[in-house]
């Protein structure tokens, strides 16, 4: 315990650790969450053509207006409410287009309309569907969604037992859908948490790659390795330190991110199903459950990645090489992913933090021992197992006398 506390203090005393955590905090929490909510993602637009950054610094009030507006449609998504939503948008657009664009979830709704009622689209029209679809023709939302989902699976060559398996998962989705303001949750679940995980991987690698390799860098390894506790016990203390740091970094970022989310968005809409973000999603989850999944995915992925980084750090003597190899574990698969066959892509996604928590919006499956397994189940478990498997090898590598 004493050694763990000393190692932990040693890690946090390094300037590199403090700077890394600070930059990570600035990028993920301040830039990726607070400024995103208040300014460049949810601030009201200065004009129609302004870019993301051409927005007012009024996200807090703008979000409340949007939430209030969305809830005015009764809270439950039915054919009637969809007709009201579209009708109201068209009225608002003709009176004040800027307001309609700012206040409504028009992009998401328009996406639904295009997928569910494609026959209403006019060839050659310069307008988006939501601007001209006749509201009274928007009927059978749930039936059409079911057909679109089945067609989507067939287009992906997911037929037979695989299709049956995925549709069984979809059957658990609670209907009718609760409706509210979607775009905040969409940004949070599709971008914010995913980006946080990618960023934390970088900073985790910077800090943990020095955990063992740093002893060679400082030339302290002969000193440590000739002490009573300098082999297995110190290696275990360092591993626990690495894991503690991983959890601490996660906690700092996640708690601040969630606090920012609660401040700007509150809890409104937590019980909306994720299908509002992507109609063909089959995850039987509401927004809160999806957020819990994505944060859990991030934490477990980070733990798995920490295990790999520590193994690399114990196996090489150079801080720089340890860092480069650690980063390569995450970023090389991401870079080469588009050029790989689908099977290999799926296999690589099981490497910690290479896959994405946003797979809950997809219908990927793994075929294991004759059974289909929906990808989010494996993506949350396998990476952490990889990290755990690495840990005995970390101890072994560090205690290997031959390196000294």
């Amino acid at each position: 315990m004493e050694l763990f506390l000393l190692e932990h203090r040693k890690l946090w005393r390094k300037a590199g650790t403090k700077i890394s955590v600070f930059i990570c905090f600035l990028y993920v929490v301040v830039f990726g969450s607070i400024l995103s909510f208040q300014w460049f993602n949810f601030g009201s637009k200065v004009n129609f053509t302004s870019s993301n950054f051409g927005k007012n610094f009024d996200g807090y009030t703008a979000i409340r207006d949007r939430q209030e507006y969305a809830l005015s449609f009764g809270g439950v998504l039915s054919d009637k409410s969809i007709q009201q939503i579209v009708g109201d948008y068209q009225r608002m657009e003709s009176a004040d287009a800027k307001k309609a664009w700012d206040l409504t979830d028009w992009m998401i709704i328009n996406d639904w309309l295009g997928n569910l009622w494609p026959e209403l689209q006019e060839a050659g029209s310069y307008q988006v569907g939501i601007s001209y679809f006749e509201p009274e023709k928007l009927t059978d939302f749930y039936g059409r969604r079911q057909l679109v989902l089945e067609k989507y699976l067939e287009n992906n060559n997911q037929t037979g037992k695989e299709k049956e398996y995925l549709l069984q998962i979809d059957e658990k989705v609670i209907r009718p859908f609760y409706y509210g303001w979607i775009r905040g949750w969409q940004t949070l679940l599709s971008i914010t948490i995913d980006t946080s995980a990618e960023s934390m991987a970088l900073f985790l690698a910077i800090v943990l790659s020095t955990l063992f390799a740093g002893e060679w860098h400082n030339n302290t390894s002969p000193l440590v390795l000739t002490t009573k506790n300098g082999w297995e016990i110190i290696a275990v203390a360092k591993i626990i330190t690495g894991l503690a740091f991983t959890v601490e970094l996660f906690a700092i970022i996640a708690i601040c991110d969630i606090a920012s989310q609660l401040f700007f968005m509150g809890t409104t809409g937590w019980d909306m199903p994720v299908q509002l973000i992507k109609l063909t999603a089959i995850a039987p989850m509401n927004m809160l459950q999806a957020e819990i999944y994505e944060w859990a995915f991030t934490l477990l992925g980070m733990v798995g990645f920490a295990g790999i980084v520590m193994l690399i750090s114990s196996a090489v003597k150079s801080n720089v090489l340890a860092l480069l190899l650690s980063l390569a574990v995450v970023y090389v698969p991401t870079l080469i992913d588009p050029y790989l066959p689908c099977g290999l892509q799926k296999a690589l996604s099981l490497i910690p933090l290479v896959g994405s928590g946003t797979d809950i919006f997809r219908t990927y499956t793994f075929h294991i021992f004759g059974k289909y397994v929906w990808s989010p189940y494996l993506l949350i478990t396998v990476p952490v197992l990889i990290g755990i498997v690495c840990m005995p090898f970390v101890v072994r590598k560090w205690s290997s006398r031959i390196k000294a």
Binding site: E2, L3, K10, N218, S221, L223, T227, N229, W231, R401
Partner: protein, 291 residues
């Protein structure tokens, strides 16, 4: 207590760093002398169990030190040649950290740390960051960390490197006080340090022990091989080229040469009393010959 080195060998590819050396070390201070690349550091690392031998072994009281593991490290103190430290730590924090690595309880460690910092003359610098220390101060904290656990076997690789003469005297006294019934092995290029404190000296050349014995016995071996020759100054170059000159001093127009030679180098030469340094030069007349 007995530390036996049994046919210890280390190869790096085709290069032989340590070549089948054997010795039995009992309590006392052992000085390891040899030129750069003679295999001293490799040998010391194997004695510390942080470098695997190619063949042979090291045994403490008959037990293989590799198999002893933590039990061996518990009685070991080691100062590596290039002693590393944590730059952001104060001297006190650094020694407390090493104490924890050595499994010394916190209360004892604090007392021992304060005591050792005083002994190595760093009492006033206990709260200063190690990165602000001079080379000599860093070396002294290195010596202190090696002594933290009252090691039965103390291995010091170039402990006096970077120490000024006063610090070297302090170190020699510290080591003499400490040695008692312990096994102390130290390597250094500073022959006078070994001469002052070593009970026994091991000469290492090309990975082998070429000579071994007590300081007086070894000095005796150099007897009759050390000469003093007074020559005109213009002849000094000639003598330096053809023989091993241990020392040269000018006296007016003359130069007095201290020459190491099996035979009387010149009719004018007079025999003089040998030192360990003379013996060192006799065995390693040039740097290359030691390797």
């Amino acid at each position: 207590m007995e530390l036996s080195i049994d046919r210890l060998t280390k190869h790096y590819g085709s290069k032989i760093a340590v070549d089948c050396v054997s010795a039995t070390l009992k309590k006392g201070v052992y000085g390891l002398l040899g030129a750069n690349g003679a295999g001293k550091t490799t040998l010391m690392r194997m004695l510390c169990a942080i470098l695997e031998s190619t063949s042979g072994g090291v045994f403490l009281n008959g037990k293989d030190i590799i198999e002893m593991g933590a039990d061996y490290r518990n009685v070991l103190g080691y100062l590596p040649q290039d002693f590393g430290y944590y730059p952001g730590y104060t001297a006190m924090e650094f020694l407390m950290y090493v104490s924890a690595l050595k499994g010394i309880p916190k209360s004892i460690a604090r007392k021992r740390t304060v005591e050792l910092l005083e002994e190595v003359g760093l009492g006033d610098a206990a709260d200063r960051k190690v990165r602000t220390f001079s080379g000599g101060m860093k070396q002294r904290i290195g010596i202190a960390q090696a002594l933290l656990n009252h090691p039965e076997i103390l291995i010091l690789d170039e402990p006096t490197a970077g120490l000024d003469p006063k610090e070297r005297v302090r170190f020699r006294n510290l080591l003499s006080d400490y040695a008692g019934d312990k096994i102390v092995i130290l390597s250094t290029h500073i022959v006078s340090d070994i001469e002052a404190i070593a009970d026994e000296v091991l000469f290492m050349k090309k990975g082998k022990f070429v000579l071994q014995g007590s300081v007086p016995a070894l000095i005796k071996k150099a007897g009759g091989r050390v000469w003093e020759l007074t020559v005109p100054q213009e002849e000094t170059r000639k003598w330096q080229a053809k023989s091993t000159v241990a020392n040269l001093r000018h006296e007016g127009q003359q130069a007095v040469l201290r020459i190491i030679s099996e035979h009387m180098p010149d009719e004018r030469a007079v025999p003089c009393e040998a030192t360990l340094e003379d013996l060192y030069l006799y065995y390693f007349p040039t740097e290359q010959e030691g390797v």
